[in-house]
């Protein structure tokens, strides 16, 4: 059994960590958090130059062609650094959708631009409150033009193109939903900034009025492609969450070692050390589930749907747990804007919902386990 990343992959992780530590310190995250920029353009450029954006994109499409395990270790570091760039929307959602369902021409058009950092992509799926179900899609596609509104769209203000889930019929079947590519620089598209609990990442509402669109994949397969994209993204976002969990745990541990109260390191009080031990437990369970997700993703295993849901739930819980108790370990200082704790708290709660709610994924996991069990 070799249920671990290879030495090369670990080396890539170290490189990414080093790169992000120097190019994406907390003060870079704060530039976006404080509204001084929509994303960190310099960092985005640097990530492209390092080959991180295109790590899972085949060489023929401008990537490094390394693969999904490599993308997982990069994702972990992105989460750890809270990188304020459109990485998840462009790489996990848009690029994955294109690689899964795009025509040769579509891949040629977008993937090289993604890998080089020239194009930012996103997935326009959600339409307000609710979970990702076919029923929730109201935006209509008619003769390759789209009408309707999507919200929230991650990185919607800065994206150059979007993969859009649209309704082509109303039979109540999954096949009613099709995917389209929309060049957001074309007409018929208006964008509106939205406020969110994590201002270090951009969210927008996008309204399509007769917007020109190009089908992605077979019309009837839209929902099925989308489900696969969400499963893949679930694994990758889970790695970001695990990276964030570990960092929040480290911050708490360091503070517990440095801070003195009642003449002792606060980490010598069981109330504090047990809190940290429990954070470690959550983070470890999540990491192990994520490794399984990584394996399933990289081998395109039939277990992917179940593995993805497990990774997603476990990592969501771990990051929320670690980020909130990191504040608690820090006490009052943890609740200041000046300390970085709240940035992890914010990110953990945004990531928890970015691919649909925890309840949704819980439901999915059990549904998938039941199906497997019945089979």
């Amino acid at each position: 059994m070799n249920f671990d990343f290879s030495d090369d992959q670990k080396q890539l992780r170290d490189e990414a960590r080093k790169f992000l530590a120097s190019k994406c310190p907390p003060k870079a995250v704060r530039q976006v958090l404080d509204g001084k920029a929509l994303y960190d353009k310099e960092l985005w450029k640097g990530l492209a130059e390092m080959g991180f954006i295109g790590v899972a994109i085949p060489e023929e499409f401008g990537g490094t062609g390394a693969g999904h395990l490599e993308l997982c270790v990069v994702a972990e570091e992105m989460g750890r650094a809270l990188a304020p760039v459109p990485f998840s929307s462009t790489v996990y959602l848009a690029a994955e959708a294109l690689m899964l369902a795009g025509t040769e021409a579509q891949k040629q058009k977008w993937l090289p631009k993604i890998a080089s950092g020239e194009a930012i992509g996103t997935l326009a799926l959600f339409e307000g409150s609710g979970n990702p179900t076919p029923k929730s899609i109201k935006l209509v596609a008619n003769n390759n033009t789209l009408d309707g509104t999507k919200k929230p769209v991650p990185d919607g203000e800065i994206a150059d193109f979007a993969i859009v889930a649209a309704r082509t019929a109303s039979t109540g079947r999954d096949s009613d939903i099709a995917l389209f590519i929309v060049d957001l620089m074309d007409g018929g598209v208006t964008r509106k900034a939205l406020t969110s609990v994590d201002p270090s990442r951009n969210q927008a509402e996008i309204t399509f009025k007769g917007a020109k669109a190009e089908p992605l994949g077979a019309a009837a397969d839209g929902w099925s492609i989308l489900s696969q994209v969400l499963d893949r993204a679930a694994v990758l976002v889970a790695f970001e969450q695990v990276g964030g969990s570990d960092r929040a745990l480290e911050m708490g541990r360091d503070y517990a070692l440095d801070r003195i109260a009642f003449g002792r390191q606060i980490g010598s009080f069981q109330a504090v050390k047990h809190m940290l031990a429990d954070m470690y437990v959550s983070a470890t369970l999540a990491r192990s589930n994520c490794y399984y997700g990584a394996w399933a993703l990289s081998t395109n295993a039939s277990e992917l749907p179940e593995a993805a849901a497990s990774a997603r739930i476990s990592a969501t819980q771990a990051f929320q747990h670690c980020s909130k108790n990191n504040i608690q370990v820090h006490g009052g200082m943890g609740f200041t804007w000046e300390f970085d704790c709240h940035m992890y708290y914010r990110r953990s709660n945004a990531l928890a919902l970015s691919l649909g709610s925890l309840s949704y994924w819980e439901d999915q996991l059990i549904e998938r386990m039941r199906k497997k069990n019945a089979a």
Partner: protein, 410 residues
């Protein structure tokens, strides 16, 4: 067992209710009842002062205080009844809560009669706002670890140091201040309490930006601030005992409704449509709601038990100390769940979010509920030690001179 007032209590309630009906600022009722999520009443001090002044004139300010200091000499249960009747208008009194709830009782216990006559009535009537200068960067849960120095200079004391987490310092007229006057003795033994004019030279107030973006607290810096010895409260180096009077009052807010977020969540779930119908029809939502419902009602009835003790003239038991511990974590969990119910759109906030973003605002403010006024961990210690009688933690700094206590973890 019943929930009825005694005849005297009923009479008192009637009088209070009639007076409030005739005098309350009704034009503010709506805004007070349904505040915008995350909104503060910052900059609306005048409205608060006006209501407090009116109450003072009607004899309803600080009603449990003695009459000569601006109160009404009311019994504890009458105070609770007043709070119940005042309802949402009580929110107007927040700028005075620390002054009247903590500074006032300390001044009452330790100041001279003349000082009491001078300072307490304007504190009761809201003319003067007071703040409490206790917490420091180096002394949070460990209040006695404070480092702000006070050194005697003739009839004055010279203060140098820094306080933190001071609510309302920027609009306060006075403050009570605990300082270290002798760093060569054990930490609890070298402290002295004062009150001071916040406009004194050398006092600098800086707002703290919180994790949720709001600014409710301040840092206060002291550079060679002079305080006359006549403004000392209690003996030199007896400040720790004096501070206990203050802190004891902090936790004695019986009958005050503890916010849990449950009523808001229940209402939200009653109206929210999920894929398969109204949220409240979903078994998972129900199961979670039920768990929180019983915690919420448990807190409500625990406070009723305390009120009943007061009504009988007894001292309420320690049960009330569980309020903040239970509600702090609960608010955080409720906020997370309410956002989860909104799906991906739950990550939006403010006007872009469902329910005006009230749960997102709650999520971002709730971590402070588990810290301010005693962390969850300190509260558990208090329950374990004072209620259950378990031994205290081992104190390595107990008999060590303050200036010999470690200040760095590593």
């Amino acid at each position: 067992m019943n929930f009825d007032d005694t005849p005297q209590e009923a009479e008192f309630r009637k009088v209070a209710r009639a007076w409030i009906a005739a005098n309350a600022p009704k034009h503010l009722e709506d805004e007070l009842t349904n505040p915008k999520p995350g909104a503060t009443r910052d900059g609306k001090l005048a409205e608060s002062k006006a209501w407090q002044k009116k109450k003072a004139e009607g004899g309803w300010a600080c009603l449990h205080w003695p009459k000569e200091y601006g109160g009404r000499g009311a019994t504890p249960i009458e105070r609770v009844i007043w709070q119940q009747e005042e309802g949402v208008y009580d929110k107007l009194s927040r700028p005075f809560a620390i002054g009247q709830g903590m500074c006032g009782p300390t001044v009452m216990a330790y100041a001279s009669e003349a000082l009491k006559q001078t300072y307490l009535p304007p504190l009761a009537s809201g003319e003067k706002v007071w703040c409490q200068l206790f917490s420091e960067p180096a002394g949070g849960s460990d209040v006695a670890g404070l480092r702000t120095r006070a050194e005697k200079d003739g009839d004055d004391w010279i203060i140098n140091g820094q306080k933190i987490w001071t609510s309302g310092a920027h609009y306060s007229d006075y403050g009570i201040l605990i300082t270290r006057t002798d760093p060569n003795v054990a930490k609890h033994k070298g402290l002295t309490m004062f009150f001071l004019d916040m406009k004194s030279e050398g006092v600098e107030v800086k707002p703290i930006k919180q994790a949720n973006g709001m600014q409710e607290f301040n840092e206060v810096f002291f550079t060679n601030v002079r305080i006359p010895d006549s403004q000392r409260l209690g003996a030199v180096n007896d400040g720790w005992n004096v501070s206990l009077t203050t802190l004891m009052n902090e936790r004695m807010s019986i009958g005050a409704r503890v916010a849990t977020g449950f009523p808001e969540l229940f209402e939200f779930c009653s109206n929210l449509m999920l894929d398969d119908g109204v949220a409240i029809d979903n078994p998972d939502v129900r199961s979670k709601l039920a768990s929180w419902a019983v915690k919420n009602s448990g807190l409500t009835y625990t406070s009723y038990r305390s009120i009943s003790a007061l009504s009988k003239g007894e001292r309420p038991g320690p049960e009330n100390s569980i309020g903040k511990l239970v509600s702090g974590m609960m608010m955080q969990d409720i906020a997370t769940f309410a956002m989860d119910l909104q799906g991906a759109a739950g990550l939006l906030s403010g006007e872009d979010a469902a329910a005006g973003g009230e749960f997102q605002a709650l999520l971002l403010s709730s971590p402070s509920m588990r810290i301010a006024g005693g962390t969850d961990e300190i509260l558990r210690n208090i329950i374990a030690e004072r209620v259950l009688g378990l031994p205290g933690d081992i104190r390595v700094d107990k008999n060590v001179p303050f200036n010999k206590i470690a200040t760095k973890g590593r």
